[in-house]
């Protein structure tokens, strides 16, 4: 539960703040029903929750990629660095340092890895040398991409595509990356690898992350703070540690019943009612 005190102080330092946003698709389907959250500068904040809970929609509402899907923020405010950004186009948001890495990777399949990375620098006006330097930096974080720099992205593996998508976002020199389901469809080893890089980017480059993730386990391992969405609402939030220790989170998202890891073999045919859904 939000403690009002910390909420106020964090509001002052928040890089991004969502206040009660509501999102409607096609003028009909209400997807977000008043989501509020705040991302502090330099934080890694995780948006957790089931499918269709509204995680992706929340990210797209921020980056304003919603429009292209006939979605619209009908209520509430989105404030980035103290500025209302609800009406800005995605490219204006990228210029302001906020870029989204979409779910399912979305690399430009017919472009080479390097060309993919360079498109990330599209909005930059600081000259070829700076871009070149950043390209090197991305390669230093993702050595695999250097190896495959001239391969067509469409022919690279899922993990490489995910790295390419993150690297491409980095090329925009963002303050904030909205990362959607980075672990989706990746082997466990790769998931750790990618989250490890997220952590390094956060620590070394000062990039703030807001990530939507189904894999609660790994997300709470790397995030500093988390919000849990269900049915288009935030039902729980707290720092990662308190969420990890929350009984409901344990049971419903981490699969730890009581004290031990519960086996998928012994799942009951009934389950405890979620208190927040009453």
């Amino acid at each position: 539960m939000a403690d009002t005190h910390t909420a106020e102080t964090s509001a002052e330092r928040a890089l991004l703040e969502l206040n009660n946003i509501e999102v409607i698709y096609n003028h009909v389907i209400l997807v977000l029903k008043g989501v509020s959250l705040s991302v502090p500068k330099g934080g890694i904040v995780a948006l957790l929750g089931a499918n269709g809970a509204g995680k992706t929609t929340t990210l797209k509402a921020i980056s304003n990629l919603l429009r292209a899907e006939r979605g619209d923020v009908t209520k509430g405010s989105i404030v980035l660095k103290g500025e209302h950004v609800h009406d800005l186009s995605p490219n204006e948001l990228v210029r302001r340092g906020c870029i989204q890495v979409m779910e399912g990777r979305h690399c430009f399949g017919h472009l080479s890895i390097e060309e993919n990375l360079l498109t990330g620098a599209y909005t930059r006006r600081d000259g070829g040398a700076a871009i070149k330097a950043d390209l090197e930096k991305v390669y230093s974080y993702f050595p695999r991409l250097r190896e495959r720099r001239s391969s067509q992205a469409g022919y690279t593996s899922g993990g490489e595509q995910q790295m390419c998508a993150i690297g491409r976002a980095l090329m925009a020199k963002p303050d904030m990356i909205l990362l959607d389901e980075p672990s989706m469809g990746l082997a466990p080893q790769l998931v750790e690898e990618i989250f490890e890089i997220v952590r390094q980017l956060n620590a070394n480059e000062g990039v703030t992350f807001l990530l939507a993730e189904q894999n609660t386990n790994v997300a709470l391992k790397y995030a500093t703070y988390g919000y849990i969405l269900e049915n288009g609402r935030v039902v729980l939030d707290g720092d990662a540690k308190s969420l990890r220790e929350n009984d409901d989170v344990k049971e419903f998202y981490l699969g730890i019943g009581g004290d031990s890891h519960s086996s998928f073999r012994n799942v009951k045919s009934y389950r405890r009612r979620k208190r927040w859904l009453n």
């Binding site: 089931a50 466990p188 080893q189």
Partner: protein, 267 residues
Amino acid sequence: MSLVETLPASQRDILLKVDNISLSFGGVKAITNISFDIRVGEIRAIIGPNGAGKTSMLNVINGFYHPQEGTITFEGVPRPRMRPHHAATHGVARTFQNIALFRGMSTLDNIMTGRGTLMKRNLLWQALWTGPAEREEIEHREAVEKIIDFLEIQHIRKTPVGRLPYGLQKRVELGRALAAEPRLLLLDEPMAGMNREEKEDMSRFILDVNSQFGTTIALIEHDMGVVMDLSDRVVVLDYGKKIGDGTPDEVRANQDVIDAYLGVPHE
């Protein structure tokens, strides 16, 4: 419970045998010389990094792809080249990585389509809707209702699947595969994109399908918790080659598997 089910997996009959299979697409090798078997009544997991050839392997078993080399023996009979829809009549059904349902149709109708291969009366009979065709329709409806009951989706029986949340759609897809009454069920990432709760449900259904109907199951899955808990044996692929095969514990301890896929040993 039949005698077969009480035997440990290692002593059961072989249901499907994959022998030295190689598959390539225009020179790109997707699968190289892979052999393994699936025994009657077991849950067999196929794991491996992205692009390891897991889905191709399912497609080979299913008859979607025809391997350039090697043979597949199903129920002791070498499998000839065949079309995928024949696979269903031959006792193999599968679900897909990306849900492939008829979004505008209800849950009931979607699962009903899974009975298609079992319907004996032809279209004309069905159109006339008399006598045997009617009886048959009722029979199929009953079988479908049993699946609906089994998967606990009574409340969405009449809901168009396009309107259902992802987890339930996956369940309906499983229902449709079950409707064909397969002896071998292939599940391609049945839990991808699911949350813990949905995974638990899906696990329960997979186990129940296995134990109640005695259906043999081969599944591709990335969630190691699920794989290790559910499967009797695991085969590990990497770059189209088999790098491990054995019980979950054996695979977990296999250094090649750790290096190529698991990373840190899974707790």
